[in-house]
Symmetry: C2
Subunit: 199 residues, 2 copies
DNA sequence: CAACGTATACTGACTAGTGAGTGTACGCAA
DNA sequence: TTGCGTACACTCACTAGTCAGTATACGTTG
């Protein structure tokens, strides 16, 4: 029955997700994940070749849903591009205030696995951030913003910076400061262009 | 001989620094640090009460030198505030291209120790980032920039974002994109203020 | 349709090695 | 001779991964 296998696999990934995100990858043992999933370690190893495989599956499972959530924030917000970015960072701050919030799983994994350069989880993390950047760039271009790729990259830098700062200081207001900066970046361009044309 | 004790202690911190930064805190054992310092684990435990103490000492030793380096970049650069910020991020990109570069030790430690909220190393990391932010704010105020504290915070967000993105993508050009954003933020303000006054 | 073979999904007990931290003895300087 | 700094040898808990074996479902064949 391949259906059962998929169910079990999902249960393992869900358990891994909770634990890896909550405590960090190295801090969580394969036994811990198995126990949380309600099965033995040997069964886990039936479904995954190694802990590294499990880590990769954990991040892969977070990729799409995360993008849907963030872009959902953006698309649901009313107003200008700046207003939409403000909303994204405001939502981020809201998440950051939740007691179970532990930063960005992708960034923290990248930090933990920094010594294993070819790790599939690192590739998944990099790809995820690139996708998010591309989603921003597409919307910026749609809105007629100058240099949409560059601005998308800069907004991503603020996005990741906000994750880092919120984690460091345990202060969600950093996301709001990042939001203000993002607004300035997508509005400032137009102001400067107008000024240049007049000169 | 308290002098010898200090020398030994420094040797241990230097060894810990190399290893913790290079491989991550959890990936490095106390035995590894002792071996690299050229002494036994028992001697290390004579000088440090626990591994946690050693981690805190590792970050404490990096605090001041890091600030001196970054502010040295800024103060050595010629030109406007924007030019100086461009120089800071350009230097950051230069470091990021070094093969031994492994991101920001403070941020990576924060990511690894996320489950131990009161950890002295986390406090040291947060204090370090605050100090850096204050150094930026002081220089921004000196230069007559509007809202220097807010701008300093936003530049720090770009700073930490650049660390994260460079680590994620192994691409130092992210620091340069962050530098461009920082320049826009410290220049854009003036442009907007002028525009408002005219209106 | 009953007996059999086989793949699926699972388990408990284990290995070999590593982790942080410690008890105790010994040399050497003041 | 006191006590500081160092080393060896150790404990005990934990870790990734493995061995050998089992229950169940299901298609095939006599």
């Amino acid at each position: 029955m391949p259906k059962n296998a998929a169910i079990t696999r999902n249960r393992i990934v869900a358990a891994a997700s909770k634990l890896f995100y909550g405590h960090g990858i190295r801090a969580v043992s394969v036994d811990d994940v198995a126990a949380r999933a309600g099965l033995t370690k040997r069964t886990l190893y039936y479904h995954f070749r190694s802990k590294d495989d499990l880590i990769a599956a954990y991040l892969a499972a977070r990729d799409e849903p995360t993008i849907v959530i963030v872009m959902g924030w953006m698309d649901a917000a009313k107003g200008t591009l700046a207003d939409k970015l403000e909303a994204v960072f405001a939502q981020m701050a809201r998440l950051g205030r939740h007691p179970k919030w532990r930063g960005c799983g992708f960034l923290r994994t990248a930090a933990e696995l920094v010594t294993t350069p070819g790790h599939p989880a690192l590739k998944a993390g990099a790809a995820h951030k690139k996708k998010l950047e591309a989603e921003f760039a597409g919307r910026f271009a749609q809105a007629g913003l100058d240099a949409p790729e560059m601005r998308a990259r800069q907004v991503m830098l603020l996005f990741d910076g906000a994750f880092s700062a919120m984690l460091t200081h345990r202060d969600a207001s950093y996301a709001e400061a990042a939001g203000q900066a993002a607004m300035d970046l997508v509005r400032g361009e137009k102001v400067r262009v107008v000024a240049k044309r007049r000169a």
